[in-house]
Point group: C2
Chain length 687, copies 2
C-alpha cells in the first residue's frame, strides 16, 4: 500500500466540478469528438491541403435545436477559426477545415441550445392562429435580443424586424392574416440575420483542444531508394564517395524515386570492427559496418573521410534537390567503442563490474562492437540535448528527412521531447521509424511523433495476410497517426519469398508495395538487380552483405527491373489515388492467388483497381467482384479498365469480371477505371 | 473568431510537460488502461463481489523487464491497494480485484523497468563463465540496494545473499563452479526476497485514476413488476389504496418479482385534467393521470389522499421488504398547473407573452395539463436543490429504487450533479432511466449515473433484430456502464406483436425478456392477464388505459400467465447464469424463427442455453449449432439438456441438435446444460 497522490484526473475533475458549479444552465452536450488519439494525449496527422473532417455527438435534453461549431487554430495562434457543423443522423455532427501549412494545430467543438432555431422550427409546425400570434411575439423578442448583440450595421435591421413582427401580431385577426404573419416570421433573410448574432452565453466547449500535426505532402506520399554510398564507385576497386552518389542521381531519378536514403555516412569504429558477412574479426582491409558509428575522425556529426567531406555532402543535397530528390539520413544512436563520446561522456554509458563499458547484448548473443546509450544516466539531460543536436546538425546541412534506426531501443519520453522540439522549429521534418517490433510499441512511436513507420509488409505474402494487415493499417484506429512505409527488402531483410520466387516475385512485391501503400521503398541496386542469395539457408541476411563490405553493381544488367520500377513510380505520380492510403478497399476474388483492391481520390475523379497474382510460379485466372456502388459505376453500364502497365484496355460490365495473369510477363494489373456516364449524349469512357 | 481560452487540455498538457521535465529516466510506458469510459470522464460499473479485471498495454524500450501493478482504492480512501498484474501476450497486462461494498472507487496502473527481473531473465540465458561471474556481481549489487530499501527483518537476509554471491564470484573458477553460482543466483527464494523491495524511484503512473461505481447486486439482477395502486381494490367500485397494495404483495411475491414499481402516488392536478382514454376534458369523476403531479393537497412529496397516508406508504415499504420485495417509486419532474410549485416558484417555469405559463408542447401537439421546469431558470440552483430533495424525501421513507420518467427532457448536468450527490450519501440507490429516445442520449444518461436503462427491447422481434441488439448491449462499449432493463410492455407500450400474437406471444416475449436480460419487468396485471386491445388500430396505447382511469383486474382469470411467470422467475433465481448479461452469446440455427443463445457464470458451473420460437402462430423445428468449446463440452461426449420449464431431459451429442417448439404449448426451451465429464470413472451428468 502506498500513499495516495493527487492525480492528474483529480485535478481534471476539480476543473470540471468548478465548471459544473459555474452555470448549471449550460444544456448542450458534446461527446466523442473525433479524430481523437488516446483521448487527445497524442496528435492525429494530416498533410497540408487535406480536408480535416471532425465529427462529434451533440444533443441536448428535450426537443430544442442545437447549433454546433468546429473550432481550430494553429497551436501557437491566439484566435480560433470557426466553421458551422452539420447534423447527419442520430446526433452525429460533422464539420471540416482545410489543413494549413505544416505545423501543430488544435481543434475542438462548441455547441449551444439555440433558442432562435428552436423557435423557428416550432413555428413552422404551428397552425392555431392564437398560438401563432404568441409565437411571433416570442420571435420578435429574440430579434430584439439579437439586435443588442449585433454589430452597428445590422442593429437597426434587426430592430425593424422585431417591430414588424410585433405590429403584425397586434393587427393579426383571422386565419389568413395569421398565416401571412407566419410566412413573414419564417423568411430566410430574417433567420440569416438573427443567426449572425446567436446568444452563446450558455455554450458548451469540448474541454480538450485536440492536437493535430500537419505535415507536408511527402509525409503521406513518398518513394524511397536506399543505397550504400561506398558501393557507388564505377571502379570496383575503389571505395565509393558522395561524389559518386551525385553521379548516380540521374539513375535514381529515372527510376522515379523522390527520397534517396543513405545508411550512416559517419566514421566507422576500428575497435571490435566486424568483418565480411558479420565475421567477429575483421581483416585489415575490411570496411566495417556503417552502423558502428564513431572513430578517431569523429562521430555522428562527421562524414567518413573515405566518402568525402561535409562540402561534398552539401553538394549532394543540392544536386539531388535539382533532380527532385531529397536526401534522407540515418540516425542510429549507438557508438563504436572508439567513438569520441565514450571517453568524453563516460556517464552516458553503463559500466560493468570489471570496469568495461556494457556493450549491447541479447544473451547469449553479444554485440561487442556497439555501445548503447544508458537512458537512465544521471546525466540524461545533457545526453538528450546532445542526441537532439545530431538532428540539428544535419538539418543545418539541408537534410529534412531522417530514417531512425531501432527507435524502440531508446527511451520513449526522449522521442516525444526531441521530435516535439525538432518539429516545432522545423515542421517540414519527416522521421521514419525503423522499428520492427511488437505492434503496440510501433504504434507508440508513431503516436510520439514519428511521421512514417516501417511495417510487417515484408512478411505478409498471402491474400489473407495482406488483406487483414492493410485493412488494419488503413481502417484501424492507427490510421489517424500511423503512416505505413512498406519495403519489400532492406539490407537486413531478404525474405524467403524473394529468395525463391525469381524475377516474378520481385515484380509482384514491387507492384504490391507501390500500390498498397502511398509510401514505399526499396534497397537498391540489390532489388532491381534481383539479388536473392542468403548468407546461409534459412537466413534473411544477404550473402556478402553491403553492411560489411563494398559491392559493385552492374546497373546495365539485362534482367534489371529498372524499367518496371520506373513505370510503377510514373503510375504513382500520375494517379493521386495511389498517393494516399485511407481509401484502400479489398474486393473478393474466387482464386486465393489473386488479390484485388482499389484506391480512389476523395472526389472519385481518379480510381485505381489492382489485381495481383500472388503465385510467382503459375499463371492464374479467376473472377473478381468489384463493389460497383463504391466505385460509382452504374450497374447497367459497361466501363473501361485501362491497364497502366501494359497499356491494354478492357471493356468490363457488371461486378464480376474475368482476369488472367502470367507472372513471367506481368504479375499485376494496375487499372485506371474509366466510368461511362449514364446519359447517352454524354458518352465518354475517359472521365 | 473568438478569443482563445486556456482549455482543460492545456492544463493537462502543462502537467504532463512538467512530469516530462521532472525525470526523463522514467522509461516504462503505460497505455490504454481499461475499462475506461470516455477517457475516464465517466465511471465503469460493477456490483459488489464482482471481479474487476483491468487491462493495460505496458512496455518499455529495448529488452528490459517490467513490473506492473494494479492500484485501486475507495474514492474517499487515502491509501491505494496494489495487486501484481501479469503479462498475457503482445504487451497486454491484466490484473484484478474484487469490488468492495457499494460506492465509488478509482483504479490506475503503475509500472517500472525492473532491473532485478531483467537481470535474472538475462542470467538464465548466460553460459559463458566469465560473463556469469560479472553478472553475479551485478546481482549482488542489486541485492545490496534492495537491502537498503528493506524492512529490518529482511535487511540482513538480503545482505547475506549479496555477500554469498560476491564471495562465490571471487572463488569462481571453471565451468562447473560457474554453473553452480548461476544456480545459486537464480534461486526463487532470493528472487522473492529482492522483489519484495523493488526500486520504484523511476515508476510510471497512469495519470488518470479511472472511476468505478460499485452497486449492490440488484443493480445488475432485478425483476420488476409495475402496477397502479388505485386499481388494486378488490371492490371494482372503490379507488384502490396503498393498503390494497399491501394485500397484493403475496401475489407479487408468488410471481417471483423483487421490485414493485408504482407510478406516481402524489396528488393529481385538477386544472386541465385529462379524461378517460386521454380525453381533453375530464368528467367529474375522472381520476386523471398520476403523471400530472400536484394539486392543492400537495406535490411531489405528498401522497394522494385517495391512496392513503405517508404512514400507509411506510407500512407498504416494510411489508414489501418482509416479502423480499423493494418498492420503487416514479420520479417525474413535471407539474400540473395547480401544483404548489407554480405559485411558490414562478421563476422555475417559462412564461408566454400573454402571461401564462408555457405548457409542454411538441407542435401541433399540446399538453396543457403539464408544465415542464425551465432548466435555464435564473433560479436554477434552488430548482436543482428542490428536485434533489424529492429523492431525499422518499429515501427518508425507505425507498432505495427509483424509476425516473423521461430523464432525457431534463438538463443533463443536473443529473450528473444530483445522482452524484445522492449516491455519495446513499450508494445503495438504484435509478432506472425511462428514456425511450435516440441511442446516444440513452447512453449519456447511463454514463451520467443511471444504474439501469430502459431499452428498445419491446420493438426488437426478429432473430436478426434481437441478435444485433443484445450483442451490442452485452458486448459493445456500453457494456461497461449501460445496464439494460427490458420490458415487453409498459402502460405506454402495447406493441403490435402483443396485439396480434395472443397468449403464445406473451409467453415468448416473457421468456426472451427473462433470459436475455438480467433485469426485466412487466406492467401487470395487464401482462399476465393478456391485455391486448389498443385504443385504436395502429396505436400502441391501451384501450381504457390505467393512466387515465381505474381498472379492476381478475387475477384468477383462467388463462393467466401467473404460473408461467412464477416458473420463469424461479429459474432466474436458481440459475446465476441468468443474473448477469456479459456472458450472453448467440448460436446459429437453420430456421429464422428459432433463436438460440447461452449464458454462463464466469466459472462455467452454471450454463443455460435458450431456444425460442419467435413465431407465435406456428410450430417450428430446426437444428441449432452450439459452440461446444465455449460451453466447455468435449466434442465426443454426449451431454444432457434439462428443460427447466417442462422438466424434460434430452441427451444431446455434438454441436448440431434438433429442436421443435409448439408456441401454444411452450414457445421456449430454457435448458440447463449438464456436461458429462471426460473420464469414464467420473461419469456424471449432473455437474
Amino acid at each position: 500500500m502506498t500513499e495516495r497522490k493527487t492525480t492528474l484526473k483529480d485535478r481534471v475533475r476539480a476543473v470540471r466540478a468548478e465548471a459544473l458549479e459555474s452555470d448549471g444552465r449550460v444544456r448542450a452536450v458534446i461527446d466523442a469528438v473525433r479524430p481523437c488519439v488516446d483521448g487527445g494525449r497524442f496528435a492525429a496527422k494530416r498533410v497540408e491541403g487535406e480536408v480535416v473532417t471532425v465529427e462529434a455527438d451533440c444533443f441536448t435534453d428535450g426537443h430544442d435545436a442545437l447549433r454546433v461549431l468546429l473550432r481550430w487554430r494553429a497551436a501557437d495562434a491566439s484566435v480560433w477559426q470557426e466553421q458551422e457543423m452539420a447534423h447527419d443522423v442520430n446526433d452525429l455532427w460533422r464539420g471540416s477545415f482545410v489543413a494549413g501549412p505544416p505545423g501543430r494545430y488544435v481543434y475542438t467543438v462548441v455547441a449551444w441550445v439555440d433558442h432562435f432555431i428552436s423557435w423557428r422550427h416550432e413555428l413552422g409546425r404551428r397552425s392555431d392562429p392564437e398560438d401563432l400570434v404568441l409565437a411571433v411575439l416570442v420571435g420578435a423578442k429574440l430579434a430584439r435580443e439579437a439586435a443588442a448583440r449585433a454589430e452597428r450595421e445590422d442593429r437597426s435591421a434587426l430592430t425593424d424586424w422585431s417591430n414588424r413582427l410585433e405590429q403584425g401580431a397586434k393587427r393579426c385577426e383571422g386565419e389568413p392574416r395569421a398565416q401571412a404573419l407566419k410566412a413573414l416570421a419564417l423568411q430566410p433573410d430574417f433567420a440569416k440575420l438573427v443567426m449572425r448574432y446567436p446568444d452563446r452565453s450558455l455554450e458548451t466547449v469540448w474541454p480538450d483542444a485536440l492536437p493535430l500535426v500537419v505535415d507536408r505532402l511527402r509525409a503521406r506520399y513518398s518513394t524511397w531508394y536506399e543505397l550504400f554510398p561506398r558501393s557507388t564507385s564505377p571502379d570496383p576497386a575503389r571505395h565509393g564517395t558522395l561524389k559518386d552518389v551525385i553521379a548516380r542521381l540521374p539513375y535514381v531519378a529515372e527510376l522515379g524515386f523522390d527520397v534517396l536514403y543513405l545508411p550512416p555516412i559517419h566514421p566507422i569504429g576500428r575497435d571490435k570492427r566486424k568483418g565480411r558477412n558479420n565475421a567477429l574479426v575483421a581483416a585489415a582491409d575490411d570496411v566495417g559496418s556503417p552502423w558502428a558509428i564513431g572513430a578517431a575522425e569523429g562521430g555522428h556529426k562527421a562524414v567518413h573521410p573515405a566518402l568525402g567531406t561535409l562540402e561534398d555532402f552539401r553538394a549532394l543535397v543540392k544536386e539531388a534537390g535539382a533532380c527532385g530528390i531529397e536526401i534522407a539520413l540515418d540516425i542510429a544512436y549507438q557508438c563504436a567503442p572508439d567513438h569520441p563520446y565514450v571517453t568524453a561522456h563516460p556517464t552516458w554509458f553503463r559500466w560493468r563490474p570489471d570496469g568495461s563499458v556494457q556493450y549491447a547484448e541479447n544473451p547469449p548473443k553479444k554485440y561487442q562492437d556497439i555501445y548503447p546509450f544508458d537512458f537512465e544516466s544521471a546525466d540524461w539531460r545533457a545526453l538528450w540535448e546532445e542526441l537532439k543536436s545530431i538532428f540539428e546538425f544535419w538539418i543545418g546541412q539541408g537534410v529534412k528527412i531522417f530514417r531512425v534506426d531501432n527507435p524502440h531501443t531508446k527511451a520513449f519520453p526522449f522521442w516525444e521531447w526531441a521530435i516535439g522540439a525538432l518539429k516545432q522549429a522545423h515542421p517540414e521534418l519527416i522521421l521514419l521509424a525503423e522499428a520492427f517490433t511488437r505492434p503496440k510499441v510501433m504504434h507508440r512511436l508513431a503516436k510520439l511523433g514519428y511521421t512514417q513507420s516501417y511495417t510487417y509488409f515484408a512478411w505478409r505474402n498471402t491474400k489473407y495476410e495482406l488483406t487483414e494487415y492493410f485493412t488494419e493499417l488503413c481502417q484501424g484506429p492507427g490510421r489517424e497517426y500511423f503512416r505505413p512505409n512498406v519495403w519489400p527488402n532492406t539490407p537486413d531483410i531478404l525474405t524467403e519469398a524473394l529468395q525463391f520466387g525469381g524475377r516474378p516475385v520481385f515484380m509482384q512485391r514491387l507492384a504490391l508495395a507501390a500500390t498498397l501503400a502511398a509510401s514505399y521503398g526499396i534497397y537498391g541496386p540489390a532489388y532491381e538487380l534481383l539479388e536473392a542469395t542468403p548468407r546461409e539457408p534459412g537466413s534473411e541476411e544477404y550473402l556478402h552483405s553491403e553492411k560489411y563490405q563494398l559491392r559493385h553493381w552492374d546497373l546495365a544488367q539485362h534482367d534489371s527491373l529498372r524499367a518496371y520500377i520506373a513505370r510503377m513510380n510514373r503510375i504513382r505520380r500520375d494517379n493521386p489515388a495511389l498517393q494516399a492510403d485511407s481509401s484502400l478497399r479489398f474486393f473478393p476474388t474466387d482464386n486465393e492467388q489473386l488479390i484485388c483492391y482499389a484506391k480512389a481520390t476523395d472526389d472519385g475523379a481518379n480510381q485505381i483497381v489492382c489485381v495481383v497474382n500472388l503465385d510467382a510460379h503459375n499463371t492464374h485466372s479467376g473472377w473478381v467482384e468489384l463493389d460497383l456502388a463504391a466505385l460509382g459505376i452504374e450497374p447497367a453500364m459497361p466501363y473501361q479498365m485501362h491497364d497502366l502497365i501494359t497499356g491494354a484496355r478492357y471493356l468490363w460490365h457488371g461486378a464480376r469480371n474475368f482476369v488472367q495473369l502470367d507472372p513471367q510477363r506481368s504479375p499485376a494489373h494496375i487499372f485506371r477505371v474509366h466510368r461511362r456516364v449514364h446519359r447517352e449524349q454524354d458518352f465518354d469512357y475517359f472521365m
